[in-house]
């Protein structure tokens, strides 16, 4: 059962002072010290095991953000049940781009019986022809019409024309939502390259940072590093990189990794996938840069936790397995852009 993930992870992280690991109700009612109040704002990031797709849950100080929803409503529904997230509020939901493996699970958030509130929804609003996207947008529009939800375009994430919008969570963590490769670029006809980018910065910026760019491929990555100047603002160097495009070799370059310099890569990938993810070239690149990886098909949900205090270090915990594992679908890609990866 999934509910053990959160508890086990907290224990593994040694954050017993926060009071979540095996404490009694009486202990939970004890007055907290000032130190404990500060410490009680941990940042928890879960790269959820949703199969071949993406869904990342971020919680900090009572605020909750979901980036993408994975490929199956039933899977995300199971996770919502397991994590006790029915009758809850998702402050921000971001659909990086409208492919089914990122989208379909999000429909579950709008199932009436779940009583889930969504305050802000971000997506690129590109016209696209699938029924899944149409149904999701119907649900969003219905809540917008009732004044229950603010619906923003990732091309204009602040609705002010600025390319970057900052969301401050109740615990002090910040999400920078960055506009994707503009639709005027030829490469943007590939929806992957229209993926919005999120840079997550922990309450203490030295304690945890993460870069998530959906399924952005090399053309978009080149734009991040070039015309968008994301390396200068907001800066791309982070602790953890959520592997673009499920560990595809077309979702990484040497310049990208040199800019990000992650300590860890987290890949969201299905064990049995027809795409060959993770590609052997991507793994070889990470290995050449001495960057270990975790992957949801072999490790289950990958959880990062930062105490959110100055100098606090982040920890990573997984449901099973170890780092740098192989998957049964991994293969060598024949794509030109991967041979070699620039």
């Amino acid at each position: 059962m999934l509910p053990s993930i959160g508890r086990r992870a907290l224990c593994a992280c040694g954050l017993l002072a926060l009071g979540s690991c095996g404490r009694s109700d009486a202990a939970a009612r004890q007055p907290v010290t000032t130190t404990a109040v500060v410490a009680a704002r941990p940042l928890v990031v879960r790269v959820l095991d949703v199969g071949q797709g993406d869904a990342t849950l971020i919680e900090n100080g009572g605020s909750r953000v979901l980036i993408d929803g994975g490929p199956e409503a039933s899977r995300l529904g199971y996770l919502l049940d397991s994590l006790g997230l029915n009758d809850s509020t998702f402050d921000v939901v971001i659909l990086t781009h409208p492919h089914a493996d990122h989208l379909i699970g999000l429909r579950e958030l709008f199932r009436t019986s779940r009583h889930i509130t969504v305050r802000f929804f971000f997506e690129n609003k590109d016209p696209f022809t699938t029924a899944n996207l149409r149904h999701l947008r119907d649900s969003i529009n219905a809540r917008v019409a009732r004044g229950q939800l603010i619906y923003r375009d990732t091309d204009d994430p602040c609705a002010t024309g600025a390319p970057l919008c900052t969301i401050t969570m109740k615990g002090g963590a910040k999400l920078h939502i960055l506009r994707p490769l503009p639709s005027s670029y030829a490469a943007s006809t590939n929806p992957n390259n229209r993926s919005a980018v999120v840079k997550l910065v922990g309450p203490d910026s030295a304690s945890f940072t993460m870069w998530l760019a959906g399924d952005a491929e090399q053309e978009a990555i080149g734009w991040f590093l070039g015309a968008a100047h994301y390396n200068a603002n907001p800066g791309m160097r982070v602790d953890v990189l959520k592997a673009d495009h499920h560990g595809s070799c077309n979702g990484v370059t040497n310049a990208y990794v040199n800019a990000i310099k992650p300590q860890i890569v987290a890949a969201s990938v299905g064990a049995i996938n027809a795409y060959g993810h993770m590609h052997t070239q991507a793994k070889a690149l990470y290995r050449a840069h001495a960057i270990p990886w975790y992957r949801t098909d072999q490790n289950g949900t990958i959880e990062f936790q930062s105490p959110g205090t100055p100098g606090g270090k982040f920890t990573v915990s997984v449901q099973r397995g170890k780092r740098d594992m192989k998957g049964p679908s991994d293969k060598h890609s024949t794509q030109a852009e991967c041979n070699p990866i620039p």
């Binding site: 490929p71 802000f120 022809t129 019409a145």
Partner: protein
């Protein structure tokens, strides 16, 4: 044996595989080589399957439906426009 028809929408195309939405419901992956060479992500395809009377042969015909694609794109654009008529967004950074 009866014939059957389906509406496919190409959700994504990668190296050798396409992900396809079938009749607005289920998702399947098919070899990219099965699709018309002009098929792109977002294209609507009309798929017809004919079975021979003896049940020994199945013939799949996949036609790229440009008119249906154009219509679906227009409907999608209209849906997005409709969505901006709701609660006024003051804009700016957000503090939760």
């Amino acid at each position: 044996m009866s014939d059957s028809a389906q509406r496919w929408v190409v959700d994504s195309i990668e190296e050798s595989v396409a992900s396809v939405e079938v009749d607005g419901k289920s998702m399947i992956t098919v070899p990219r080589t099965l699709l018309p060479s002009g098929a792109r992500q977002g294209h609507v395809l009309q798929v017809k399957r004919q079975l021979s009377p003896d049940g020994m042969r199945s013939t799949l015909t996949i036609d790229l439906d440009e008119a249906a694609t154009t219509q679906a794109l227009a409907e999608s654009a209209a849906q997005v426009k409709k969505g901006v008529k709701g609660k006024r967004d003051p804009g700016g950074d957000i503090t939760l």
